[in-house]
Amino acid sequence: MTAEFSVMFDFGGSDGSPGTEQDISSLGPPNLRYKQADNATIDTNNPVPIPSSGTNYSYWKQVYLKCTTAPDTQVDNVKLYSDGTNSLSTGINFYVGDELPTKNSGSDTGYEICDSAVTMVSNHSGITAQTDVFSYTSGSSKTISISESGSIIDAVGETTNYIVLQMSVADTASTGDKTNEDLTYQYDEI
């Protein structure tokens, strides 16, 4: 059987206990909207305001792959990358946390509720640094770890660890809805 995965977004609830696990494939497009609110609603509410100076942030989003159809043997070697080009416009950046907080079929310990528009670095207890998403390309992708048994996914409901994503808006940005950006997930299946 060929494995199938959903891209999921956890939000709400409390630290270590997300209130909602949202399959983003049923949303949008776009499937995720970065805003100053912790929800999965695709609308124009709660935009990230352009600051007069400094930087404003979207609420961070904690996403992961979840197995919906099990592979014959296993899935591993999960990667994430972009097209390498920031088309969001001047002053807007898109970051991914360097660390991958724990998420698996038996644990949500890496989940930290986002209740304010602050940088994920050091405000999310599992994130100490971040990297521009667009620096991850097909030739230099981000490795996404798995904390399921054996560091593989081989059953329905098993997941990768959390990928924490966030946008920032500088005073050089312009108003308006921005171009959608795609991310690609890659994995090896047997």
Binding site: M1, N77, L183, T184, Y185
Partner: protein
């Protein structure tokens, strides 16, 4: 799907006639002489193996987070030690049916090394 052919002429298909599945780790590598990739009943690639050549096989899937569109590339090859040096031979079968052979893993998304299973690792 794949089909593992043994030196005595028997074979292990990925899917049996009753639609039950044989798993990749079930392949008896001590008797393996040929590994075949089939699509719609036709042979896409037939790779013969010599003693000491360790079979490598993966489906490498790329999924667009927005569109959900999925692309599958099949990696099939072997690696072995020759005078202490790891030698590799890898075929990539793309979704359009074209095949590319590469002599070694590289950092590019489709050409990067998989995480080897124990049965694929070279002995020292």
């Amino acid at each position: 799907m794949w089909k593992a052919v043994y030196e005595d002429g028997t074979f292990l298909p990925q899917y049996n006639e009753d639609n039950s599945t044989n798993k990749y780790p079930d392949i008896n590598r001590s008797k393996l002489v040929c590994f075949i990739i089939l699509k719609d009943g036709k042979v896409l690639l037939k790779m013969n193996l010599s003693k000491g050549q360790r079979l490598i096989y993966r489906k490498r899937i790329r999924k667009n987070s927005r569109t959900g569109v999925t692309d599958v590339t099949i990696l099939v090859g072997w690696q072995m030690l020759i005078k202490g040096v790891s030698v590799k031979h890898i075929h990539l079968i793309f979704s359009d049916g074209s095949i590319e052979t590469i002599p070694n893993w590289s950092g590019d998304r489709l050409y990067s090394s998989p995480n080897f299973m124990e049965c694929e690792k070279l002995n020292g």
